[in-house]
């Protein structure tokens, strides 16, 4: 195969520059007069998060007016992954509220918005960009930005362009919007997950109902014990191919054992060393194999399941543990509200016994996939020449400010703008959303997926294939990991 890297600085140079940019302490003041990081990340804990919530008042309209006048007239097209039938009702309400609020703030900016399914938006975006009909603005999952930036589809865009400061956002989030030393987006909200369990099933299995498994080895043992003692499935494994849910659940396990896809867990990753065939990755894969094949303590359907397929079994008391967002609780409440009779009673019992805890740690670390979404502005060359930069900046400023960075993250996420943690809306979230403090405290363990264009291929195809090859017995655990590592080396030509 003939392959040629584009000429320019090496990955090492640009990524080191990017890390320096992100880690720099000399962040200029934003247009709102804020300097430096607005929160103390070194002391991040559920207690600290509660302490700072409600200490900042925000006037979003006034803040936006400093960037783009409120009477500005313009048109923009916007693509995003909006609420679906599987989303909790509150997400639908907030989505509607957001657009109403933007229309009120900027009554003369028309937004042609389109909402797509999570699993289809990226394909449609690639096709649209090739056909010069990409939207002007899009809110995209952070894994997708490097490919779009590498292909030259995205305008350079940094928080300073929309009145914020880079220091106001999670360093890992800023890393995810940086490609070859340049920034191409502004984080909107950032997601982590937690371990969710059914305390009643723990109790029936003779386990402490209020304590999650501390390590991944413990999780494997818990899953087996629950299956043996109750007949119910222990852990809701997800191993479907081409579904984003899969790497978000397997990679934290992999990182915990000291493995990884590349060196994404390093302080300054270079993305030149493949770790899928490392002892840590093989240990994580072996743990999955033990649960699926040896113990049969996870659903047989894991190979074709996404997280959606775990929801009903958990709610009906047939599944004891799963990894998911804080919004999973809201989904359970919504689903239970639609049931009746015995099914409703079982669902209510499961909900009453829901617990959230930190994702288990492994020999190397505790880790969670640092997920999230970023706002990007596309270049006029891929939008068919239609471009209204000021209107686009207005939307991005509005969306990434502390108010809407918090509100849009209401049920399932955390504000990308760190100032959002200090607002009254964060305080209300903490008071009304159960378990939010748990997922919030996982943020410091967040590891972003490799910030390279091949990340989607690695996470959505190669990693699930590795899992399926091992779990079906088509290959041994070691051979499956080795084969996956070869594919990554071939893809990256290293």
């Amino acid at each position: 195969m003939t392959y040629r890297e584009k000429s320019g600085p090496s990955r090492r140079d640009v990524l080191a520059a990017g890390a320096g940019l992100v880690g720099s302490s000399l962040i200029p003041a934003n247009s709102f007069g804020q300097t430096g990081a607005p929160v103390d990340l070194a002391n991040w804990s559920p207690e600290y998060v509660r302490k700072i919530a409600g200490t900042l008042e925000v006037d979003t309209a006034a803040d936006c007016a400093k960037i783009v006048p409120l009477d500005y007239r313009g048109n923009i097209t916007f693509w995003y992954v909006g609420p679906t039938d599987a989303s909790p009702r509150i997400e639908h309400e907030i989505d509607a509220e957001f657009w109403a609020a933007f229309a009120k703030t900027y009554p003369n900016i028309t937004v042609e918005k389109q909402s797509f399914d999570y699993n289809t938006i990226l394909d449609k975006l690639r096709t649209a960009a090739l056909g010069n009909s990409a939207p002007m603005v899009a809110r995209l999952m952070l894994l997708w930005a490097p490919e779009l930036a590498a292909k030259g589809f995205l305008n350079e865009l940094k928080p300073e362009d929309v009145g914020h400061s880079s220091a106001e956002f999670w360093p890992a989030a800023m890393k995810a919007v940086t490609w070859r030393g340049k920034t191409y987006g502004v984080p909107t909200y950032n997601e982590t997950m937690a371990l969710i369990w059914n305390a009643e099933l723990f109790e029936q299995a003779g386990l402490n109902p209020e304590e999650p498994p501390a390590t991944w080895d413990d999780l494997v043992n818990y899953s087996r014990t629950i299956k043996e003692k109750t007949g119910k499935f222990g852990y809701g494994m997800v191993a479907r191919r081409n579904a984003g849910n899969t790497p978000y659940r397997f990679m934290p396990q992999c990182w915990a054992y000291g493995g990884g896809a590349l060196d994404e867990t390093a302080a300054a990753p270079r993305y030149e060393q493949v770790l899928l065939d490392s002892p840590g990755t093989k240990a994580a894969l072996q743990a999955s194999y033990d649960m699926y094949v040896r113990d049969k303590s996870v659903p047989v359907s894991a190979l074709t399941n996404t997280q959606n397929e775990n929801q009903d079994p958990f709610l009906s008391g047939n599944l004891a543990m799963m990894i998911s967002h804080p919004s999973e609780y809201a989904v359970m409440l919504d689903k239970a509200a639609r049931l009746s009779g015995d099914e409703r009673a079982r669902a209510d019992r499961a909900i009453a016994k829901v617990r959230y805890g930190l994702i288990p740690k492994g020999p190397a670390r505790r880790a969670v996939a640092f997920g999230g979404w970023n706002a990007h502005i596309f270049k006029p060359s891929v939008t068919g020449g239609k471009h209204d930069m000021e209107a686009a900046r207005a939307l991005v400023t509005f969306m990434t400010g502390p108010e809407w960075s918090t509100k849009l993250a209401w049920a399932g996420s955390n504000p990308g703008n760190l100032r959002g943690f200090k607002t009254s809306w964060m305080k209300k979230r903490l008071e009304t959303i159960r378990f939010l403090d748990v997922t919030t405290s996982m943020l410091t363990y967040g590891v972003p997926f490799p910030v390279i264009p091949e990340s989607t291929e690695i996470m959505n195809i190669i990693v699930p294939d590795m899992m399926q090859n091992a779990l079906t017995g088509r290959m041994s655990v070691s051979a499956a990991a080795d084969a996956a590592a070869r594919q990554v080396r071939d893809a990256l030509s290293i």
């Binding site: 003939t2 584009k6 490919e147 479907r240 659903p299 074709t304």
Partner: protein
Amino acid sequence: MAVMEVNGRRPRRGERRSLVRRIWRQRHDYLYVLPAIAVMLLVIGYPVYATIYLSFFNTPPNLALDDKIFVGFDNYWRIAMSDSVHQATWNTMVWTLWSTLFSFIIGFAAALALNREFFGRALVRGTLLVPYVISAVAAAYVWRWIFHSDFGVIGAISVELGLTDHPINFLDNQTAVLPSLILVNVWKEFPFAMIMMLAGLQTVPDPLLRAAQVDGANAWQRFWHITVPHLKGVALVTILLLLVANLNSFTIPYVMTGGGPAGASEIWITHIYQIAFGRIRFGLASAYSVILFLVMMSAGYFYVRALTRGDKDNS
């Protein structure tokens, strides 16, 4: 201008001049089909050309399409050497042949049953059409839950009846997954064969059947010696159309299993989709598409031959 064959051979010079005169005399007929041809060139011709062109390039995810790298036949060589292609090819053959065979047999049987009068015939015919008209995506999702390896209806019934100790593993089993998907596909496709064969059965001359009955032919003899010969043409067309449809079939395997587990239900179409939109290798996916296109064109050639042979027989 391409030279048309006359009576199966290249025309001589005198004949070519008369051919040109005939085409010129009928130029208005060509003008009438010109808009359709223009649209076809735009929506089919250009994409085919672009796909063939792209198949000679490497398009890694970190390069814009404008920066693609010419690699000649390297993509085709990679396909020939790829293990995953061998599995996808085998799966495609199994999927296509069994889906076509069972769809045709069940559709033909249903057509034979519906060809005679009975009470409620219209209702039965309408009911049997339902799988064909249902959205493939909706059907795939419903069947996915029917076949669900842990909480599916079939598995639950089999445990309840004591047939098995555990729910049956249909979709997460490398051996059972393809037959399960074929079953769903046959359920979806057989009404098409039923409609085609039912239409064909209407052309079988009734007097001939009655005359044969008077002469002492039994039901099987009438079917085999009268009905089947009359249905050869429509049967061939139906089978070819089913073959093409099944080769192209994407929704059921993709929605139900995504090609898993471990590639056990990966067919060419889903494999191409993964290469293009999962791995973002448009050049390689284009090479796959060109190969599939050539296979489909071969099937299309036989389809057109079967159609035109029918026209010649009738003329």
